[in-house]
């Protein structure tokens, strides 16, 4: 099972993501913004990072850029949790180095399917 970092400023969304992943046997660390996620990422290692785009302090895009600049996270899959209405955000995320995205709203099954897709 994988070690996953879940980053979202919404407590309910983060809770849902973490709960679902833990239920599937993954080890999940949580962070409420990009800055905190970077701190946690630095002190640990993860197989996958799931990040919301719109967050205070540091948004998801900037976080991806910073993560990719770290040696340990050059090739780690990073998925953006984003909404349909922001195609340009997807591209911005891609440009920053995101692996892909999961479109909100998603349900626990979709989340698990996508995670499985990335982790194999």
């Amino acid at each position: 099972m994988a070690k996953i970092l879940a980053v979202d400023d919404s407590v309910s969304m983060r809770g849902m993501v973490a709960f679902t992943l833990r239920g599937a046997g993954h080890e999940v660390a949580e962070a409420e913004n990009g800055q905190l996620a970077l701190d946690i990422a630095r002190g640990s290692s993860f197989d996958l990072v799931l990040a919301d785009v719109n967050m205070p302090v540091m948004d998801g895009i900037a976080m991806v850029r910073e993560l990719r600049a770290m040696d340990a996270y050059k090739g780690v899959p990073i998925l953006m949790l984003t909404t349909e209405s922001h195609t340009e955000k997807k591209m911005e995320g891609k440009a920053a180095g995101a692996t892909g995205w999961l479109v909100k709203p998603f349900d626990p099954e979709q989340l698990l399917a996508t995670v499985k897709r990335v982790l194999g």
Binding site: S12, N54, P56, T83, T99, G100, D107, A113, R117
Partner: protein, 666 residues
């Protein structure tokens, strides 16, 4: 049906959405008052965005649909395609109100969208320059072919996005039989091995996917790789009959990604259970608690160590240990109490909006100043102080502050100032609402009071007495019964509410300069510092904050008045004596006034003397509700357990003073 029960996140979602709306409102008001801070726009957008995402995820589709439209507008603002105009702010503020109502209905399981919300959504859509309500992109339904030829060339940075060609092949394999027809190194690859950067990818593949696979499914596999590869997908050129006859691989998963318009699972109408109420506690408070707990454990082990083989020589150590226990217990108690304390800012925050709305409605100009937002109050007090404050703020703007022209004529700034201030004072939290308006209109108040029969005609009243009149039941100055203040809620209700919280409210006013309403509230409802008194065999606790003085009276200082009441002279006034033993029916109590002791207590500037047998000392009392364990008793606000294990009743000062004054009047 989902294996994960999403209803468990609903409460959190509602809580954070309410907070988000508060933040949104505050930011909108800041923009409204002319701020150009772009971060405000981000805050507003983020709040709407989170609510939309959460609502959609947790199945509140009406809320999601509404927020979606608002968010689209906000996105235009954020990307500077739309200016922040008064109309937009108005609309957004109304949207905040509407969303609050929608969320409230959601949390109680009622139908969410109503005529109002739909009308408002229509307005938002109209403003959003003809943007479609939901921009759902329906994936083109290409006719399934017998198979697909895929030419896939990775761009050098592909691996650096965390994507892996192997993963893609695995996914394709799940759709149908995958044949790798050719793998090649692209021309741009460095010629020398030494120049090869392992993080760069220089490979390409020609693949053939056999089977009746929908084009959309193939595209979905490469969905994330837009810009990371060169991709060409074509219907299979020629298929050998043998291959064509090949049955589609068993177990082709219906891996169609759910389109956005996918109907969400029916909204779970779990009625939010009666809110037990939760509290967010700063981590520092929890840490302090854990710290104290640690010390308590150490002290406990030290004491049990002494106790196990006690020798008289250890008496000093025992005493030390007990002292430490006392100190730690007190600190622990304080730490626990602090958990219930929340900053008053959460109540103050609703006023910018209220003030703005009142300004528009009344045509007045008001500058609102907030001070001491970080002052902490007991959660229960905080929840109940909102309404009285709203009433006082309304009154101040409606009756206190004058119209701009009037102010100008009086030589004042056209914009009136309304100040809310919270601070600690002694054992109390004081909240002041002050305005620089016209002050109380004495003539109007007196006239009104006479008309209502509260005072006799021609009665001379001091300023303080006139001010007191507005707190009288049945008094309302709403001569110009506006729809703001004249809602049948008078100042007497404000006072009653504040009193119910163990607090007091008063007013100072100066004609032409303004009024100051002062609310004093107890720090916490659960603990009081009290004076333990004995009445017969009973113990009564009098809250320290209400004690003016304790004194022994000589017989000649007591006067009997008609009706059986007793009064005594105290600092230029006659105070009624209230015999506690009589009021509470205690046997074996001292009945000679000169042998007992009189405790002068005060509530709302009104005093009475309580006759008790003796004073036993000061003690902190943890208030236990008498109502919950027994029943409501007049003159008693609660009970507590004394250090010897006996029960003492806590005197309800307000109630006792009212009782005492009544008996004097009788």
């Amino acid at each position: 049906m989902s294996a994960v029960d999403l209803t468990q996140f609903h409460k959190t979602f509602f809580e954070e959405s309410r907070e988000g709306l508060d933040a949104m409102e505050a930011a909108l008001l800041a923009l409204d008052s002319g701020s150009t801070d772009h971060e405000l726009v981000h805050t507003i957008f983020r709040a709407a965005h989170s609510i939309k995402g959460g609502a959609a995820t947790f199945g509140f589709s009406d809320v999601a649909a509404f927020t979606h439209v608002a968010e689209s507008l906000l996105e235009e603002v954020r990307s500077e395609r739309r200016a922040v105009e008064a109309e937009l702010i108005d609309l957004m503020l109304r949207s905040v109100d509407c969303l609050r109502a929608m969320l409230a209905r959601s949390s109680s399981g009622q139908p969410v969208a109503d005529a109002d919300s739909e009308a408002l959504r229509g307005e938002l859509m109209r403003l959003a320059s003809g943007e479609a309500a939901v921009a759902t992109v329906v994936a083109p339904k290409a006719a399934p072919a017998n198979g697909w030829d895929i030419r896939f060339v990775a761009l050098p940075h592909l691996l650096q996005t965390g994507n892996d060609p192997l993963r893609l092949f695995r996914e394709l394999q799940q759709l149908g039989r995958l044949e790798v027809r050719r793998a090649f190194v692209v021309d741009r690859a460095p010629a020398r091995l030494a120049d090869l950067d392992p993080s760069q990818c220089h490979l390409g593949w020609e693949l053939r996917l056999h089977g009746a696979v929908a084009r959309g499914d193939v595209d979905a596999v490469f969905d994330w790789l837009d810009g990371d590869c060169e991709l060409a997908v074509e219907a299979m050129a020629e298929e050998t009959p043998a291959a064509a006859a090949e049955p589609a691989p068993a177990g082709v998963p219906a891996a169609t990604p759910a389109p956005a318009a996918d109907p969400r699972p029916a909204r779970e109408t779990a009625v939010a259970s009666s809110e037990g109420g939760s509290i967010r506690v700063g981590i520092d408070k929890v840490d302090a608690l854990i710290n104290m707990m640690g010390e308590l454990v150490i002290t406990q082990s030290m004491l049990s160590d002494i106790g196990e083989n006690f020798q008289l020589s250890q008496l000093e150590r025992l005493r030390e240990g007990l002292l430490q226990l006392e100190r730690t217990t007190r600190e622990l108690q304080e730490s626990v109490m602090r958990i219930r304390m929340l900053p008053i800012g959460s109540v103050f925050n609703r006023f910018p909006r209220l003030v703005r709305d009142l300004e528009r409605k009344l045509g007045k100009q008001v500058k609102l100043e907030l001070h001491g937002e970080h002052t902490e109050l007991d959660k229960t007090v905080l929840e109940k102080i909102g309404d009285p404050l709203v009433h006082l703020v309304r009154n101040a703007i409606d009756h206190g502050l004058e119209m701009p022209a009037q102010r100008k004529a009086a030589g004042k700034a056209e914009t009136g100032t309304l100040k809310l201030n919270a601070y600690h004072e002694g054992g109390n939290i004081v909240v002041q609402i002050s305005d620089d308006g016209a002050g109380l209109n004495h003539a109007a108040i007196v006239a009104k009071a006479q008309q209502r029969g509260l005072i006799a005609a021609g009665q001379e009243l001091s300023d303080a007495e006139v001010a007191e009149l507005i707190f009288q039941p049945g008094f309302s100055t709403a001569a110009q019964a506006t729809d703001l203040s004249g809602r049948g809620v008078g100042m007497d209700v404000v006072r009653r509410n504040v009193r119910d919280l163990g607090g007091s409210v008063g007013v100072r006013s100066e004609s032409g300069k303004g009024s100051v309403f002062t609310i004093a509230l107890p720090l916490t409802l659960a603990i009081i510092d009290g004076l333990v008194t004995a009445v017969g065999h009973e113990r009564y606790i009098v809250p320290l904050t209400s004690i003016v003085e304790s004194l022994r009276l000589r017989p000649e200082a007591v006067r009997r008045i008609a009706g059986g009441g007793e009064v005594f002279h105290f600092r230029d006034e006659y105070l009624p004596i209230m015999r506690l033993h009589r009021a509470f029916g205690c046997a074996d109590a001292i009945t000679d006034i000169e042998r007992g002791i009189v405790v002068v207590i005060e509530d709302d500037n009104r005093r009475v003397g309580l006759l008790v047998d003796e004073l036993l000392g000061q003690q902190q009392a943890v208030i236990k509700s008498l109502e919950a364990h027994y029943r409501r008793v007049q003159g008693v606000s609660g009970a507590t357990i004394l250090s010897d294990g006996s029960v003492a009743l806590i005197v309800d000062v307000g109630g006792v003073v009212r009782l005492g004054r009544r008996s004097k009047a009788a």
